[in-house]
Symmetry: C2
Subunit: 210 residues, 2 copies
């Protein structure tokens, strides 16, 4: 039986799914290569090592997501120029691509990202952080412009809280559905985004919002 998808891609797909499901250390190359219908040596041949495979899995998803974030931010800044960008528009540019990725084909990947963020491996951690340099710098400036009355340290803290809400939402929606007894439905992505945006805008502007 011939494979139409290249082995390298099948390895990435299988690794992403299994990493998210069982963690980095909990997923052996044997499970990955078996799931990808490839030979055990395939990972070391195509990627060099397990660590390089992990890095490849991350880069495949993170680059498009952060690119989309910056694209939306540019649009929001341009729409408001020369005035300060709208807070909700900036937060939308930051939250929407992540929320979207966390629910499409990248659902499992986002679980993985959150787990890897607290991984014991320093190499993995730094490999991820590198992908966010531009995003941090650009959004920091935009938020400062949108909320000029908020002191900079205060702003950082609130962004920190917002990121926490975002990550927890993407990763643990199952937990919410469970805790709410099925009351909370996460099927409607735009509704979830709207709720998260409401929460973030209110929190970011410190109760004096709108």
């Amino acid at each position: 039986m011939t494979q139409t998808v290249p082995t390298r891609d099948r390895l990435l797909d299988a690794a992403e799914r299994l990493f998210a499901e069982h963690g980095l250390d909990g997923t052996s190359l044997r499970r990955i290569t078996t799931a990808a219908d490839a030979n055990l040596a395939a990972v070391n041949y195509h990627f060099g090592s397990k660590l390089e495979l992990v890095r490849a899995v991350f880069e495949r998803r993170l680059a498009p997501m952060n690119g989309e974030r910056l694209r939306l931010l540019d649009a929001a800044v341009a729409a408001a120029a020369p005035a300060a960008p709208d807070l909700r528009a900036v937060l939308h540019a930051f939250l929407a691509p992540a929320l979207s990725l966390g629910r499409k084909d990248g659902r499992e990947f986002f679980v993985l990202i959150a787990r890897a963020h607290s991984t014991p491996h320093a190499e993995v951690q730094s490999a991820i952080v590198e992908q966010f340099g531009d995003v941090i710098a650009r959004f920091g400036g935009a938020l400062q412009a949108a909320l000029p009355e908020v002191p900079l340290p205060e702003l950082f803290w609130r962004v920190h809280f917002t990121i926490g809400a975002l990550c927890h939402t993407v990763v643990n929606t199952d937990l919410l559905r469970l805790a709410s007894g099925g009351l909370c439905d996460d099927a409607d992505e735009t509704a979830v985004l709207a709720r998260l945006l409401d929460f973030a805008v209110a929190g970011m502007s410190g109760g004096a919002a709108r």
Copy 2:
């Protein structure tokens, strides 16, 4: 050289620290027993297995924290009775013990808890969730009373966001200090709690706060 601290406790201390530092799978019984100045077989003798050791590490910290949460909630409810409890007081009862635990002797433990929350091991996961049954039920009711105008599903979502902000704050303050270039100082616990409370109150009440 005689040990004044029982081996069992030394094992718990070493395991908590190493689990938080290197993850559950990344920490071998050999490292734990070496750090605890105990024999390799000590874990299996005192706890039966590595999994039981993990459960013991969790229970030692979670039980007091959730107990303190419920105690503070009782006080907040009693203080306002027969009127509805104050939103900020309820959120304080929920957030303060967790934030406090995440910064005292339990600092490393809280990192561990956040990591274990997304652990691949189902046994570990369920062992943690069991510890939160009472807290979820009690705080759910109190928040509903404090925010009668917010529909129940909406309420669950906002609690979900708040928990995300809390976890991210406790676990990743180092990341914030780094990203802010030292602007954000987390040394003052009451100040951090105040900021988190401001954010949560604003977000929970949906911009119409105070």
